[in-house]
């Protein structure tokens, strides 16, 4: 068990180093940092002196080590565009994106799991066919179109919900949250649904496939023959075993949620990290792009580490293998 956790942690560190290397290469080789920092009137000698002072002439490995060390200390450098510390810029955007992502994930699970179970238990039902057809269309509709449709229906036609921004936010110890005010929830609803829809179809298809697989297995047939009540059979025996792979998928989906939050945030002008990343691409603000990558990778690694641990906690078989 300890060995397993340790192995996963070392792997995570390795992943983070790879991403840091990517971010460093971006910063170092895409455009010249010196020309970004100085104006046209800076002389070549001054530029060279600055280059030497900043250590850009040092050996590559040395530079990379320093870069990683600075990152660990929380020093992420300065934005080319706004001249502000990147750490502050990103930190102020994290709450918006995380709240959006988590609520979207919850929506996708709350709807996706029951829908998956239902369509697996009643494969020939009319409702099942309708749901399956809808998800096929749903997968083909781009996220931004879903967002526009929701804005059109609930924002423009019905006028029930706001169509951009975060609404009223509440400050809780530096964390700007929209989860504690009615206004905030109203603003959060449409973007979260937009982001959740695609994940929802994935969750549903996975739960359905997994559930059908389990229902065919020997132990379920045996329980059936033993006369276990149908409800208990479905929800205690079958569903419990379906949940194990579903939890892994949640970890993997997190990456998708973050990536598509870029699109969602753009449609709803949601002031999160994705919107910042888009701006940084448009203005070739390399430091912000690099740090965004590192931060995203960090969350991704963290979530997957937790998921792996949960996996061990839920599935006793994984603990036995460890003993041998």
């Amino acid at each position: 068990m300890v060995y397993f956790i340790l192995k996963r942690m070392i792997q995570s560190v390795f992943v983070m180093l790879t991403v840091a290397f990517l971010a460093f290469s971006l910063f170092r080789f895409v455009g010249d940092p010196i020309t970004q920092m100085t104006g046209v009137e800076t002389s070549v000698e001054d530029q060279e002196r600055l280059r030497e002072e900043l250590g850009l002439n040092d050996p590559f490995v040395y530079q990379f080590t320093r870069f990683t060390g600075d990152m660990l200390k929380g020093d992420f450098g300065f934005s080319y565009r706004t001249r502000q510390p990147v750490a502050e810029m990103i930190a102020s955007r994290i709450p918006a994106t995380l709240e959006l992502g988590v609520v979207a994930l919850i929506i996708s699970l709350l709807v996706g799991i029951p829908a998956g179970v239902y369509t697996a238990l009643k494969p020939r039902g009319v409702l099942t066919q309708t749901i399956l057809m809808t998800t096929l269309v749903g997968v083909s509709i781009p996220t931004f179109v879903i967002g526009i449709m929701l804005i059109f229906i609930f924002g423009v036609q019905l006028g029930w919900l706001p169509t951009f921004g975060r609404g009223g936010t509440v400050q809780i110890g530096g964390w700007e949250s929209s989860l504690f005010s009615f206004d905030g929830w109203r603003a959060l609803l449409l973007p979260a649904i937009t982001l959740g829809v695609y994940q929802l179809t994935l969750t549903m298809r996975l739960v359905r496939a997994e559930m059908m697989e389990v229902m065919r297995s020997d132990y379920i047939r045996f329980a059936m023959a033993r006369g276990v009540p149908t409800a208990s059979l479905h929800y205690r025996h079958a569903l419990a075993n379906t949940m194990v792979p579903v939890i892994t998928i949640i970890g993997l989906q997190f990456g998708g949620v973050i990536a598509f939050s870029i699109v969602t945030e753009s449609v709803f002008q949601w002031p999160g990290m994705g919107l910042l990343f888009l701006e940084s691409i448009r203005f070739v603000d390399i430091p912000v792009m690099g740090v965004y990558l590192v931060v995203i990778a960090f969350f991704f690694v963290l979530v997957n580490l937790v998921v792996d641990l949960l996996y061990v906690a839920i599935d006793p078989r994984l603990r036995i293998r460890d003993v041998s």
């Binding site: 971006l26 895409v30 083909s140 781009p142 931004f144 179109v145 804005i151 448009r282």
Partner: protein
Amino acid sequence: MIAFVKKYEGLWLFVHSPAAIIAALVAVLTFLGAAFAPWIALVNPYDLASFSLFDGLLPPTWLDGANPKFILGTDDQGRDMISSILYGARLSLVIGLSALSIAAVLGVGLGLAAGYYGGRFDAIVMRIADVQLALPAILTALLIDGIARGILPASIQQDLRVAVLTLAIALSLWVNFARTARASTFVQMNKEYVQAAIMMGQRPIRVMFVHILPNILGPLLVIMTVDLASAILLEATLSFLGIGLPADSPSLGTLIRVGMQFLLSGEWWILWIPTLFLVALVVSINILGDFLRDIFNPRLR
């Protein structure tokens, strides 16, 4: 007789599947319309002289105040919606298909080689594929676009937009091809005909492309259809985000982004007609992909 039935089984299934027929019809009509856009479109959206501001904001013909000349109405510049969509689909398909071809050549080549040689080369290719698989395609494409903006001098950037966009999409889609090609190649490697070809001393390139490739085309064709839909969606999304193509050479995604400005006013057709068209096209390609998968994978039926 059995061989005959097997050969035409796919055709028989196709004729008896209304969804597949409609999807194929939509896809073929779009391809034709896009290919012949310069000859069938009423106006050329790139040519300022071919449309007039006086025709601006006309609704589709079934509404009041329409001009029967413009069946689906016009946008604020007076461009005929049908023409814009035909030209937009043309650009979207050109980018989608070129990106797909690059991704297929790159992915299948690497996948075949990885499956054929195995060992360290296989391990390296697959690790790269794993890393990229962890990054969602849209993020990869955005990053490549951002890097291109940083590297290329500003003067040639506008001219290279289409190329950069195509490359960004291609590099985010090759992994699917590589994984599928590698897995299928592994299966073929144990077959006698491959062993025989190797024994005969044929060069690896010849074994890979002449002997193995034709036998793994089925699953690759499925990936191709599904990824064409992904490529079109990616292009539309990037253009919608304003990262893709500029507004003067509109693809489907750009048309939708421009149409967003009319979300609050009454001119719904400028937004919804291109959107509906994009969704119909992608849904059709996905249905065809599902259909092909069923044919090549009879177990799933």
